[in-house]
């Protein structure tokens, strides 16, 4: 690149360098983007192919589209339809998102605004929970929930979240609150609001983008959660999608790829739709914790 030649013929293509540069960048981006998204296209396309075609062609558009995979996938190889597993998933995810948001906002408000004794140390503990590997807590938590009689219920999957155990979310909201000016809250106090009214009437509406980001991340992560349901749930009728899918590949993997691909497509559809509807909040959310001016 640092060529020292300055002969006349060179000047010709040098003029076009910015254009070539842009083409190169687009070229790289398009190739990588295509390769990255191809498995997703292939999954969606495969849901509408027959099994023979999945094995015989790498194209993602079905040549002889069929709904067999979707229909059989929806029926599943179990006694329940996929609808049961989707509903079960939402029975876990929705309460989990709600209690996560409420508890994280309350605790973040305390950390961001109040002079609390030992705040520095509490905050350090909060951040330490982010770095602590979950597997070190797994067995005692299991034994504890067994004592509570909570095995094979959804309670172990979301009750802890009601106590702001996900430090990452609390941190995200703290960061957002700290970037807000105090005047509005001070004025509300002058007008006779107590702190809870300030939080719900003044602060909560303003930090809505952070609340949405927390809700979205918790939704996605909970949809993907596998290890916790695997440990706590034993009856098939209570399985979320993640467990049902794992069970299906154990049963039908060798034969019916289109069924499994269709089930996978349906399984990620809620996350996919939500992602495209609200992608701005994801990017804002994940960067708010990492980059501080």
């Amino acid at each position: 690149m640092a060529s020292t030649t300055s002969h006349a013929p060179d000047a010709g293509w040098r003029k076009h360098l910015p254009v070539l540069n842009a083409l190169l960048r687009y070229g790289i981006l398009i190739i990588i983007g295509f390769l990255m998204l191809y498995p997703l296209f292939w999954m969606i396309g495969g849901s509408f192919k027959n099994n023979h075609e999945i094995f015989s062609s790498i194209g993602f558009i079905p040549k002889e589209p069929t709904l067999d995979g979707v229909i059989n996938g929806w029926k599943t190889s179990t006694e329940y339809t996929f609808a049961t597993y989707l509903i079960n998933t939402f029975k876990i995810v929705i309460p989990k998102v709600i209690v996560t948001v409420i508890s994280s906002v309350i605790v973040a408000y305390g950390f961001a605004r109040f002079a609390i004794p030992g705040r520095k140390y509490l905050f350090a503990l909060l951040m330490a929970t982010v770095l602590l590997p979950k597997s070190v807590l797994l067995i005692p938590q299991y034994l504890m929930f067994r004592e509570f009689g909570w095995l094979d219920t959804y309670l172990p999957l979301y009750i802890p979240q009601a106590f702001a155990v996900e430090g990452f979310f609390v941190f995200m909201i703290i960061q957002f609150m700290r970037s807000l000016p105090l005047e509005m809250e001070e004025a509300a106090v002058m007008d006779g609001c107590n702190s809870f009214q300030v939080l719900t009437l003044i602060v909560a509406p303003v930090i809505l983008p952070a609340i949405i980001a927390v809700a979205l991340f918790q939704f996605m992560w909970s949809m993907n959660d596998f290890l916790q349901p695997l440990i706590y749930l034993s009856s098939v009728e209570k399985y979320p999608v993640a467990l049902a899918l794992k069970m299906s590949i154990d049963v039908t993997e060798a034969t019916s790829w289109n069924e499994i691909l269709a089930m996978s497509t349906i399984a990620i559809a809620p996350s996919l739709i939500l992602f495209f509807a609200a992608q701005k909040y994801f990017v804002d959310g994940i960067t708010s914790g990492a980059v501080k001016g």
């Binding site: 309350i106 109040f114 597997s135 504890m144 970037s179 399984a267 996350s271 990492a290």
Partner: protein, 300 residues
């Protein structure tokens, strides 16, 4: 009002209760369990105190040593590659080109979906003997590779799945790049510094706080990889992808050895703790915080 310590403490009480009950107590309990021969099917009262026997057992456990080895291999390959790739794409995306938003979305999407069982299942098919990659190889005239059936290549499928999720690190890098003041580059241009030199002398130093954040998050995440080996490779073949979190799970819930499993989880915890402690300790030597400079840009 915000000076009222009592009200403030009330707001953080849920965290204190949750921390004690669901984090601190299990954390200590798992260490206590690691000193016993507790079994999953027995009452805890039946367990015997065995001192450090579980930790001693690891010294003679070939499976554990294999697992530890592949775990380090996995982390040391995945994390640097993922960070380098995320940074490279972020730098390309940071130039003012049309349609960047589209690419950013496309590259970010896998990091949201990739943790799911559904994608892990698709990955199994992509790497299967008659799967997508071998079909593509066939079209290109290469022979197929038994990706998931060979100890040398099974781990590769998991590494590639996690590299595929570089998007979350990328958007963090991208936000860091956007925060670098334009005038620094203009000044460097005037001084005649090449683009390459500008990257090393300006971009990278100013990006170190973000690099530090990404490094910590990726290390912590990589050491906890479970879905990949459980669903894609089942830890095999020949334990070649038997990552430590999978071994911890199987020891507890397949072989019912709660004591040994707890000891393994403490080993994993200590490893992660050492990595994060070294990273935090070393940051004063290589992480460059903007506060040290006078021209603080003051929030975003």
């Amino acid at each position: 009002m915000y000076n009222n310590k009592l009200i403030g403490s009330m707001y953080v009480t849920p965290f204190i209760i949750g921390f004690l009950l669901f984090t601190a107590f299990p954390f200590i309990a798992s260490f206590v369990l690691s000193l016993t021969d507790a079994r999953l099917q027995d009452q805890l009262g039946a367990a015997n105190f065995t001192g450090l026997a579980n930790y001693g057992e690891m010294a003679g456990d070939a499976t554990f040593q294999k697992s530890l080895g592949v775990t380090f291999f996995y982390v040391f390959v995945t994390v640097p590659l993922k960070l380098a790739f995320a940074l490279l794409i972020a730098v390309i995306l940071n130039f003012k080109l049309r349609g960047i938003g589209f690419f950013r979305t496309a590259f970010y999407l896998p990091s949201i979906l990739g943790g799911s069982v559904a994608i892990a299942v698709v990955w199994r098919f992509v790497f299967a003997g008659d799967g997508l990659i071998n079909q593509a190889f066939g079209v290109l005239g290469f022979g197929g590779i038994n990706w998931l059936g060979e100890p040398d290549t099974a781990m590769f499928s998991i590494v590639l799945l996690r590299l595929w999720q570089f998007g979350s690190a990328m958007v963090v890098f991208l936000a860091g790049l956007k925060a670098i003041p334009e005038d620094l580059y203009e000044a460097a241009d005037i001084d005649g510094a090449s683009r390459f030199k500008q990257f090393w002398m300006i971009t990278l130093p100013l990006l170190t706080p973000v690099l530090f954040f990404n490094f910590i998050m990726q290390i912590v995440q990589a050491f906890q990889e479970f879905n990949g080996p459980y669903i894609i490779t089942a830890g095999g073949p020949l334990k070649s992808s038997y990552l430590l979190p999978l071994m911890i799970y199987e020891e507890a819930f397949k072989y019912f050895n709660l004591g040994y499993s707890s000891a393994l989880s403490w080993v994993l915890f200590v490893i992660i703790a050492i990595f994060t402690a070294v990273a935090f300790w070393s940051q004063k030597h290589w992480v460059f915080y903007a506060q040290e400079r006078d021209d603080n840009k003051g929030g975003h």
